[in-house]
């Protein structure tokens, strides 16, 4: 009697189980492949349609508002690019100090107090608020409230609200990674708390903070909804924060609804420009993250 072979037979994985294992594994692999198909398609269409409308004048002329004639007369996207850069810059100038300030409070002062948990919860609530609600909020406060019209700085406010929770949450994670011993040694040497924060904690965390901020900026740059009823849409380039201001997402949104092919092509060109800007920010953020020792 060959009991050994018999035993092996009993413990071996049956053909049925092996088949099921192989089936499940290939289903998982297939689903992963399916997840990547849309990305490939989007990238392909953005490049093939977008690059076609890219030209020197595409970036150096304002849209003319003329949507019925050949592509030469509809203009480019200069005002949209400048507007996006300006609005996002102002939004970052508002959101970054406040966002990091709240994170510093959470880590250095609030810690595990009940109030800190409440603040953390509300910051998370802000993350889940649909982006168009920030537009409505700014509309209620700054447009109904003041009785004035759309303006670039109002759009920046809406984007700042959107960025705030992202900045705070990412900054908090980075600040928590700073070893407590670093703070304690500075305190033991007689440094006051504010000096510890500004001279030790923040500089050590800087690369991580920059990464979080860049990702928040990348997210805000692509948002359309908060700008619809706050910054308005216009054709001309202008730098006044008090006037209407064009932006890339708004330009794309307006062009999508057009029936003219050349205008839709401008939307593709603008979309490619926007995606390239966002990807550069993302890439930059990853590079900073890789170079940092903390975070």
């Amino acid at each position: 009697m060959s009991t050994d072979a018999h035993m092996l037979e009993r413990f071996a994985v049956s053909a049925k189980r092996r088949r099921r294992d192989r089936l499940a594994r290939s289903a998982i692999l297939g689903a992963t492949a399916i997840a990547l198909i849309p990305l490939a398609l989007i990238v392909y269409y953005l490049l093939s349609k977008g690059l076609g409308s890219w030209s020197w004048s595409f970036f150096t002329t304002d849209p003319t508002g003329n949507t019925f004639f050949a592509s030469s007369s509809i203009g480019g996207i200069k005002s949209a690019i400048l507007g996006t850069i300006e609005i996002v810059a102002v939004a970052s100038a508002l959101a970054v100090p406040i966002g990091i300030g709240v994170a510093v409070w959470l880590v250095e002062y609030g810690r595990n107090s009940r109030f800190a948990h409440t603040v953390r919860f509300f910051v998370d609530v802000l993350t889940g608020v649909p982006s168009i609600m920030f537009g409505l909020f700014v509309y209620i406060v700054l447009i109904i409230g003041t009785g004035s019209s759309y303006a670039a700085y109002k759009g920046a406010f809406a984007l700042a609200l959107l960025m705030l929770p992202v900045v705070t949450r990412s900054a908090e994670v980075v600040l928590l990674l700073i070893p407590g011993a670093l703070r304690e040694s500075a305190l033991a040497l007689g440094a006051p708390r504010w000096r510890v924060i500004f001279k030790i904690v923040l500089p050590t965390a800087l690369p991580g903070l920059v990464t979080g901020v860049l990702l928040a900026i990348a997210r805000a740059a692509g948002e359309t909804a908060p700008l619809l009823f706050t910054a308005g849409a216009t054709l001309k380039s202008g730098f006044s924060l008090n006037g209407f201001m064009n932006s890339l997402p708004i330009q794309i949104y307006t062009d999508v609804t057009s029936a003219t092919t050349s205008v839709v092509n401008r939307a593709w060109g603008a979309a490619l420009t926007l995606v390239v800007m966002i990807l550069l920010l993302n890439l930059f953020a990853r590079l900073v993250a890789r170079r940092s020792s903390v975070g």
Partner: protein, 341 residues
């Protein structure tokens, strides 16, 4: 330094003079005020939103507005049911299509794939999150929707015996396409949180399953997935929150018709899309009705998000061995950061 450590005023000589302590106090109270102001801001927003929505609720009643099946701008009559249903159908479709795929990618990345491709696959999936909503809309309406329309029509014709799915003319913008694009949009967040949760499965559990003779798939089914059930549910809810609040892509893809479509491939409207599309030229009661739609949307996303967070936090907290309070904070925020992505 003086030899005496206690000065005449009774303070320690080591203590900083009042003026030097000032910046510390300022920073502490300043930052506390900042944190408090976030709370105040949200509460203030909610109150103002309720105030602006007031006239519409007063005219139609809260339930009458939310579940009234008539959104008619020219007749100045507003019931949000077609919008609510559009939001729910498209988000449900997004979950139905998106979550299984997202969980599969997470399983692939954490359990099956070779170490070399782990990083690239993760980055590629995260890249989907970098594409702006309006670009998804543009791509969906000019590429995906026209390409899929014949296939959708074929399905609708074949399945005409099933109510809601079959029959009827398939329009280019419709519920299904919207749900499909939303599924792509929520994929990165659901995938990244599932991944985060799956990485908390103790190696012991997996090795125990394999040691008992389980195949890889049996190990995933018996050790990984049950352990992560709460977390994956949370991730799906979070994706649901995103899908419900998604505005611009939906506005472009859903057709913006204020009606209750009687089939899956018909046009409709959503709460977020109606605001984006009509707010610009809305007046008085219409505007108030749009604020009311915003309030319904806000409350809906709030409920979904709070439920999601509770689930994700619970799954990442309860199963780990007891740790110090400080560690709790950290694991909280690590998941929190994943959530805010």
């Amino acid at each position: 330094m003086e030899s005496a450590s206690i000065t005449s005023s009774g303070h320690s000589a080591l203590e900083r003079p009042l003026l030097a302590r000032l910046p510390d106090r300022l920073l502490k109270y300043g930052l506390t005020a900042l944190a408090t102001s976030i709370l105040a801001l949200i509460v203030y927003f909610f109150i103002r939103l309720v105030g602006e929505a007031g006239p519409a609720f007063a005219k139609f009643g809260v339930l009458g507005f939310t579940f009234g099946n008539d959104w008619n701008v020219s007749a100045n009559h507003f019931g949000a049911l077609p919008l609510l249903v559009g939001t729910l159908i498209t988000s449900a479709l997004a979950l139905l299509i998106g979550v299984p795929v997202a969980v599969a990618t997470a399983v692939y990345v954490t359990e099956l794939c070779p170490r070399r491709v782990r990083g690239p696959v993760t980055i590629l999936i995260e890249l989907l999150a970098a594409v702006p909503s309006v670009v998804y809309g543009l791509w969906g309406i000019f590429f995906l929707a026209p390409k899929l329309q014949p296939a959708e029509q074929w399905v609708a014709d074949r399945l005409s015996f099933i109510p809601f799915v079959g029959g009827g003319l398939v329009t280019i913008p419709n519920y299904f396409i919207t749900g499909l694009v939303l599924a792509i949009m929520i994929l990165p967040i659901v995938s990244s949180i599932s991944r985060e949760v799956m990485s908390t499965v103790p190696v012991d559990h997996k090795e125990a399953a394999l040691g008992l003779g389980a195949t890889r798939w049996e190990m995933i089914r018996t050790a990984v997935l049950p352990y992560c059930r709460t977390g994956i549910t949370g991730a799906a809810m979070l994706g649901l929150g995103r899908a419900i609040g998604e505005t611009i892509a939906v506005t472009i893809l859903i057709g913006d018709a204020p009606q209750l479509s009687n089939h899956l491939f018909g046009q409709g409207y959503s709460l977020a899309a109606v605001i984006a599309n009509e707010f610009g030229e809305a007046q008085e009661l219409h505007r108030s009705a749009l604020f009311a739609a915003g309030l319904v949307l806000f409350v809906l996303t709030l409920l979904v998000n709070v439920a999601a967070r509770v689930l994700v936090m619970r799954s990442s907290r309860s199963k780990r061995p007891k740790r110090s309070a400080r560690d709790f904070g950290e694991s909280d925020t690590a998941v929190g950061a994943a959530l805010s992505r």
